[in-house]
């Protein structure tokens, strides 16, 4: 092994506790950076997946001027999906489906609440919106019967359980008031805030009878992959009259922009941690340089050059940085990986706080997870090493600048 590296390793073992303490800040900084980046990437992925699997798909069409926020879900404007549009959708998508969004008042006994209802096509809907994470207490509605599923919050507010009957009141597509008694087939939990809040799912046949809407208010398209959405959007727009079309990227842009703020906050936190690590290391190595003045003088007397003394101290810093970064990357990656397969379920907390689904099409999953990227771990190791080398440079220069004649007798 190279003489400098061997001496550096030996020097680091002379005060193991101090070396370990010096490493801790690097270990913490790099680990937090990796977990933080994985958390933000996971949240970002969560936003996309929740939108894709909740209310948007890859591409979403709705009538021009249709509100995209809140519980206001007018039925006066419906989408017209003509033969040309159907041909395009059948030929160029993995699946597509229409939904009628409306906001009826649900009444059970003395209790009533305005809910966010989704009229869905029982055959097509599951092909666009994955039900992998959905769970139901009871069963899905019989498409031919007047049955619906309600979310847990609706069930709690109206004190409903599977088999109970309640009344839905709605202003129809034609402007009249209509009411229908329906049965609860099941209590549905999707894990998606946009659906679980005040959500209600009604098969399309029941929806049409209740609202008079003979066409959907929303059209959702699933493509082979997310990245194709931008290319598909203008093609769909060209064949849908009076509609506005948006991609999942556009639908989630607001939430994703918040991620940028989070990312910047994390960058600041990591910068502060690594700056603290750098100052700590510089201080430790400067102290070591002064403690080892006589030793440096002896090495210089024995023929070690100034450059080699600098290299010795920078190598010591690099070893501390490399080992610290690797340990930081190890715990950060392990935690990020574990968290990516063991999501944190905050649905109960969200329901208790009333945060879920206030009627927005912006959705996020109540499952909080990370998305681990090995490249970030690699970057973390490189960053930790660079910080360590930079922070040991000044002490190294101090040590190498010592005059041998003074240093040997210090």
């Amino acid at each position: 092994m190279n003489l400098i590296a061997r001496l550096a390793l030996k020097n680091l073992t002379r005060n193991r506790r101090r070396t370990a303490l010096t490493m801790i800040s690097i270990i913490a900084g790099i680990g937090i950076m990796i977990v933080g980046q994985a958390f933000i990437a996971g949240t970002e992925e969560n936003i996309f997946v929740s939108a894709e699997e909740g209310v948007v798909g890859h591409v979403l069409a709705r009538p021009e001027g249709y509100p995209s926020q809140g519980l206001n879900a007018p039925l006066d404007r419906l989408l017209t999906i003509g033969p040309e549009a159907r041909a395009l959708l059948d030929a160029q998508t993995v699946a597509w489906t229409g939904r009628v969004q409306f906001a009826p008042t649900a009444v059970h006994g003395a209790e009533s609440v305005r809910v966010r209802a989704f009229g869905y096509e029982p055959d097509r809907d599951p092909r666009v919106f994955s039900r992998e994470r959905w769970s139901i207490d009871g069963r899905y509605p019989n498409p031919e019967a007047d049955e619906v599923t309600v979310s847990r919050s609706v069930a709690r507010l109206l004190q409903l359980k599977p088999g109970d009957r309640f009344v839905l009141q709605v202003r129809t597509h034609h402007g009249a008031l209509n009411a229908l008694e329906v049965a609860v087939s099941g209590i549905l939990t999707t894990g998606n805030t946009a659906l679980d809040g005040l959500g209600l799912f009604a098969p399309m046949a029941l929806t049409t009878r209740l609202t008079g809407a003979d066409a959907p208010t929303h059209l959702s398209v699933k493509l082979a992959r997310r990245a194709l959405a931008t290319d598909f959007k203008p093609r769909l727009l060209a064949v849908l009259q009076g509609a506005e079309v948006s991609t999942v990227q556009e639908e989630t842009a607001e939430l994703i922009s918040l991620q940028a703020v989070r990312r910047k906050s994390l960058d600041v936190l990591v910068f502060i941690l690594l700056a603290l690590a750098a100052f700590g290391m510089a201080n430790t190595f400067l102290m070591a340089a002064y403690e080892r003045t006589r030793e440096v003088g002896t090495l210089r007397a024995m023929g070690m050059t100034e450059g080699s003394v600098t290299a010795l101290f920078v190598t010591e810093g690099s070893i501390v940085g490399l080992v610290g970064s690797l340990l930081g990357a190890a715990w950060g990656s392990a935690l990020a990986l574990w968290w990516s397969v063991h999501p944190l379920d905050i649905s109960e907390a969200l329901q208790r706080s009333g945060t879920t689904g206030s009627g927005t099409s912006m959705a996020f999953s109540a499952l909080i997870y990370t998305a681990f990227d090995p490249a970030v771990a690699g970057l973390g190791v490189a960053l930790g090493l660079a910080v360590a080398m930079a922070s040991s440079w000044y002490p190294a220069r101090v040590a190498s600048a010592l005059r041998p004649s003074d240093a040997v007798r210090a």
Partner: protein
């Protein structure tokens, strides 16, 4: 050819009222195989002169040559190279590297001199010559003061330098260990012709020297050569 030659060397520290003339126009020639002691009271310039001879410091005036090579214009790196290859040092406080074992300390001198291959064998052989056979695996803190100084002698000698500089080599040792270290140095001088220049206050050390250079106030006041002692 002389090992080391100083001509009119001056060295001044500080400036203004605090100016100290540590060496005043000192001229000295060290011949091969000499066993020279620099003596004189504290502040007489012994250590400053050793620093010049050992290339640990550079003169303000005058010229200095080692092995026939003028060192005045050499860079710091070139001076390091000359030190590494031609000069061995023995210090009052031993100055062993605490994280290295005795044999590793000796090996280090060879490695810094740029010699590759056989360092371990050479280091063990020299440790044996100074009476430390079997103790090479010990770290400095596991050796007595006398043993540490003998490791330092081995470290200085292992690269077969032209010149060994020793600054008060017995000052931190009791008389028994001091005498043993001095005997070792004398024996090596006698058997291998190694040139030694050292400083000392110790009358016993001065008595063993074959050349005694006395300094006072930065100048050489006497230079006495004696017949060899056994």
């Amino acid at each position: 050819m002389s090992i080391c030659e100083l001509k009119n060397v001056c060295r001044t520290y500080g400036s203004g009222a605090g100016k100290v003339e540590a060496l005043k126009h000192v001229s000295l020639t060290i011949e091969p195989g000499e066993f020279t002691v620099l003596c004189g009271p504290s502040g007489s310039g012994k250590t400053t002169l050793l620093n010049q001879v050992g290339l640990l410091d550079v003169p303000d005036e005058g010229t200095l040559s080692v092995d026939g090579q003028l060192v005045g214009g050499l860079s710091s790196g070139e001076l390091s190279k000359v030190r590494g290859q031609k000069i061995g040092f023995i210090f009052q406080s031993f100055n062993l590297i605490p994280v290295l074992t005795a044999v590793e300390n000796v090996e280090l001198a060879l490695q810094l001199a740029g010699r590759e291959g056989g360092e371990r064998v050479a280091a063990e052989a020299v440790l044996e010559q100074v009476g430390l056979a079997g103790l090479g695996h010990r770290r400095p803190n596991e050796l007595s003061g006398g043993q540490q100084q003998r490791v330092a002698i081995a470290r200085a000698l292992v690269k077969k330098p032209l010149l060994v500089i020793a600054d008060e080599p017995t000052a931190n040792l009791d008389s028994e260990n001091g005498e043993a270290v001095l005997s070792t140095m004398q024996r090596l001088n006698r058997e291998f012709g190694t040139t030694f220049v050292f400083s000392s206050h110790d009358a016993m050390v001065v008595a063993h020297a074959r050349r005694v250079v006395t300094l006072r106030d930065g100048a050489i006041v006497s230079d006495e050569r004696r017949a060899a002692t056994s």
